[in-house]
Symmetry: C2
Subunit: 730 residues, 2 copies
Amino acid sequence: MRLLSSLLSSTNPLPHHFNFPLRNAFSFQFRNFPRLFSMDSSERSLRNALSLKQLAVEAQGDAVRALKAAGAAKAEIDVAIEALNGLKIEKASIEKQLQAVVSGAGGGDGALNRESFRQAVGNTLERRLFYIPSFKIYRGVAGLYDYGPPGCAVKSNVLAFWRQHFVLEENMLEVDCPCVTPEVVLKASGHVDKFTDLMVKDEKTGTCYRADHLLKDFCNEKLQKDLSISSEKAAELKHILAILDDLSADDLGAKIKEYGITAPDTKNPLSDPYPFNLMFQTSIGPSGLLPGYMRPETAQGIFVNFKDLYYYNGNKLPFAAAQIGQAFRNEISPRQGLLRVREFTLAEIEHFVDPEDKSHPKFADVANLEFLMFPREEQMSGNSAKKIPLGEAVSKGTVNNETLGYFIGRVYLFLTRLGIDKDRLRFRQHLANEMAHYAADCWDAEIECSYGWIECVGIADRSAYDLHAHTEKSGVPLVAHEKFAEPKEVEKLVIAPVKKELGLAFKGSQKNVVEALEAMKEKEALEMKATLESNEEVEFYVCTLGKNVLIKKGMVAISKEKKKEHQRVFTPSVIEPSFGIGRIIYCLFEHSYYMRPSKAGDEHLNVFRFPPLVAPIKCTVFPLVQNQQYEQVAKAISKSLTVAGISHKIDITGTSIGKRYARTDELGVPFAITVDSASSVTIRERDSKDQIRVGVEEAASVVKDVTDGLRTWEDVWSTFPHHVSASTED
Amino acid sequence: MRLLSSLLSSTNPLPHHFNFPLRNAFSFQFRNFPRLFSMDSSERSLRNALSLKQLAVEAQGDAVRALKAAGAAKAEIDVAIEALNGLKIEKASIEKQLQAVVSGAGGGDGALNRESFRQAVGNTLERRLFYIPSFKIYRGVAGLYDYGPPGCAVKSNVLAFWRQHFVLEENMLEVDCPCVTPEVVLKASGHVDKFTDLMVKDEKTGTCYRADHLLKDFCNEKLQKDLSISSEKAAELKHILAILDDLSADDLGAKIKEYGITAPDTKNPLSDPYPFNLMFQTSIGPSGLLPGYMRPETAQGIFVNFKDLYYYNGNKLPFAAAQIGQAFRNEISPRQGLLRVREFTLAEIEHFVDPEDKSHPKFADVANLEFLMFPREEQMSGNSAKKIPLGEAVSKGTVNNETLGYFIGRVYLFLTRLGIDKDRLRFRQHLANEMAHYAADCWDAEIECSYGWIECVGIADRSAYDLHAHTEKSGVPLVAHEKFAEPKEVEKLVIAPVKKELGLAFKGSQKNVVEALEAMKEKEALEMKATLESNEEVEFYVCTLGKNVLIKKGMVAISKEKKKEHQRVFTPSVIEPSFGIGRIIYCLFEHSYYMRPSKAGDEHLNVFRFPPLVAPIKCTVFPLVQNQQYEQVAKAISKSLTVAGISHKIDITGTSIGKRYARTDELGVPFAITVDSASSVTIRERDSKDQIRVGVEEAASVVKDVTDGLRTWEDVWSTFPHHVSASTED
């Protein structure tokens, strides 16, 4: 325990992934700050030109007024006015150019397009009950959403695939721990003390705001809307945006005061910023004496079970444990819809590995993958993400180790198989100032959507931090053992203070001196040994006394002894891929959504191009017209689909077939079976709208094959006769 | 709204399923009180005989002492002592008989056997990490448990089957709502005011206990251990046990005082009982002004979404919504392991139906099922549960309606397919005093385990209560519409108070009188009309004034008018099957567990006979001996199993094959593939230990077929050659 405590006490540890996954969604744009901070040169010259032109306009205005006051000739005054107007036109032209530049950089038309796209997706999602603001009839609660039927189906499909892709294929140990967590656990992890955001209050109404959000909004607003600010001022504001995440409460408070920022709703003055803990607090049991929290992440449940899980795995490393479950963060003022919520589903993996061997036996399976990576160096030098083969990234040391690389590859496969667009997915490495001191390396899978690049999966090599923290707090050693094939002879440093002598010399301070001697590192101890042998005494700084003491030869024995060791005892490193399921699903909604004109061209139809894997319903069954015979066929096919385990819907309303197709396209249903005869039916594919003709008996099994991925649509398209519909499609 | 409020205000509504599913686990034994209350006649006569014999012993003892004091002859004294001893022997014999009787009724040997069985199951479950006390390294928290890897797999299999069996097969609308719930929702449902248990505190230490538990423990202890109590006293204690659930705080407090019950741990005096709300409370957002709770059930999330879901279903009834999720109850002092926990998974269905038509189109599919049912009447007359065909139970009115009956049948199929023993499963109807006043009928699926009969699923017809409550509180009408094919002419009562006359007559009380007149039921109003026509005036009681007033003819016009109506607007009834998933899983563990001797007969081996559907791992793959060729075959089979989606484990340790079988039997793995050649392998079935020989290529698909239920083991057993192992099995 002495070793561990000295390791830990020398640092100021950050709790477990403070930044992931729902706290820094907006900060993506400030992280790669070298690029943003170095203001675009055209912007700088335009801002400078605008300032000069403004001065010229003012000077000419003064001149005109002076001429008028002096009663100058009308002709002279007219010339001066003409010059003034000319300057104003020039100024307006520069303003227009500047507006275009700053709009292109994040506001303006691009933002408007993103906003209207987001609204179109959002409207479709809410109208079809993919999600619903929770407790809507009671006016809802910010940051809480329900998944309605299709959203719930998508979510359970995503989770089922996650379980298949990670837990089953990698033989992970899945656990399921409660959300209610006693304080001691989250004290050990650091969350009780440090899981906070800085908050300011409207001094009159008490309304709370996130301090960094207000400052950020102020800066963005100024930069995008106020063209009169100087290029120096603009640079200052951009610098603040760049370092926003690193600002202390005092810094934030000072800036808020300096800029005169007030409460957005009331314009009232604001309090100084102070930390607000983001955990929902509660009390366990009736006594009120056992404080508890709703867990802010699922990982702690795995760490506290390490000992049992290691035993379950036959005391062998490496192994991974996994957990899917709810997590809670009492956000100060949630924005960004489904991306920043107060309760969400996490899926987390903790892969425990020997710190001396982070190779992965299956790395070769992913080494040839090539996708957008955004290493630290590229961010610092203002470049963009670029395609790098994963094998190269690991062999060149860009990615710290094979196991981390393996998970990056597996995450890439997971996300793209769900339907995430690979061109809007990048793996961004944390900058040095973003990473906890103990972390060996950390990469976020970021997905681009209308809100920007959103971190959806964090993949971190957290070294031994978490197991250390719980070992320290609980007193239960969370360690692994490596038995040596043959005992090994090792040299060990032995520091033996002679308490009698020390007691005589230092009396009440003896204990401090003994502890300081025992805590010496090997190098320091050997130097002391040498000095004592030559000088008989040595000055020694005891930090708990705050002064030097004089150590004499008889007061401590320092030696190196040889010992036989049968095993190595060590704390495993943990490599942690952590998935924000709700964020992935929201990005998937945006990536899957598109509009196409109706056949008549008079309206836009909404489509979600979900792959069958995630589609909420795999297939719909329609009788072409209301007719008892067709209905019977439809019901028989429905029965076969149920037996085959294919979720589907049967629609026997008399609505036109075009409308029925449109309805199911909007839910992302990939296939539709239309019954237009008693012997054969058509199967329509959602995106191509192509139709094939298949016998009634075969219909369910064809849909099952393409849904389960046993056959592709191209394959069945080339096998079955095509059906050309003149009238049925919209 | 007037109609609704008068409906509701006339009652004292109980919140949503107050008794289900985790609050009355112990109470099962008291519910069928007529049976228990009417003391067994042999017990009564034995208690009486014992009292008499005790008196006789005392009298004879007095006689002996008197003889000795009087200096009687030794022979005379010896005769008296012999008589005393004879009486004592007779008394001991009666005590023994009585002990046997009371033991048979719940304590004694039966309890001991149940206790040791429970320990054997529990040890195996904990050792193999089916479950783990949560936060064990921090000494745990009562009522919180983790599922370890095999438990977690069983749970996710149970939930996947639930989704298949209910949501997919019935086309239910699944939703997923947050656990964090604002107060207003749970105020409407009644939980804020009434979701309480009665608690007492140790007056010195502050330790809390459930008041009813202490009284129950006292009564049971007395009845089972103290043979000297009179048969009257025993009857009294049994009566208390029978009515325990109905006792008020005052009644409980009086009994605790009367019996001198003290704190079990310290013997300190106890406080009076007072209600403790069982919800975990928290605060939403940073202001501290929005109180919230962790939901005590998932149902409310469905009710508040009724309007959207009804719309999603095309404004058609009936339809069902479903939700799987965590629920929370801050139990005062959780006991009974996995059966009474502070956080648990519920799976709930709310089936919305027209109150005028509760028929079910698929009832015929379950009508022929026959299983143990325990109707109210049978419980009252002291009989046992008996097998009744479901169709008969509904047609005779034992079960209120077809829809309720349909769900009872579906629940029976669900539980038995999971592996619940049908002879230890019964459907028990709620007694009149157990049911909420609004409920039409309610049946619990109770499963017998070592803790007794445990309610695991509640199936209730809750009529319109929940939708009414939220309509009332939110002001949003949660109603359904039935459009008439043709407008219907209806007669409607119209009560028109004449405010001017009433104002003159009643001044400040006018409003109370108007409201009371408008609130009259049809019958009362028509009687008033008749009286006014004959008598010109009538006495009328206004409850808000607490007195009669005199209504004269001109003060109110009462008439019946004919109106054309185009639709009927009504609040749907809800039929709610609600599943305590953790309880079902625990009972499944007990029903699946058995021991068999090892081959050598020197030890007991533990087996879980899980059906493949729920088994945590479907198959293990072993090379018979450590050998590279066999290992390669094993790995190839493993790969095929992964492709087929069969969860499995490969074990290439050198452990003896018998031990490896024993290990997997203990996890309930149904099949084991042993590689003992390069061309063919054996497949062993867990319970019979029978083995067949199958070609390497076929192995995975045979296991898939029997696992997916496409073939039975009997079927493959008759298809493939049998393998007789001399040495491999234990």
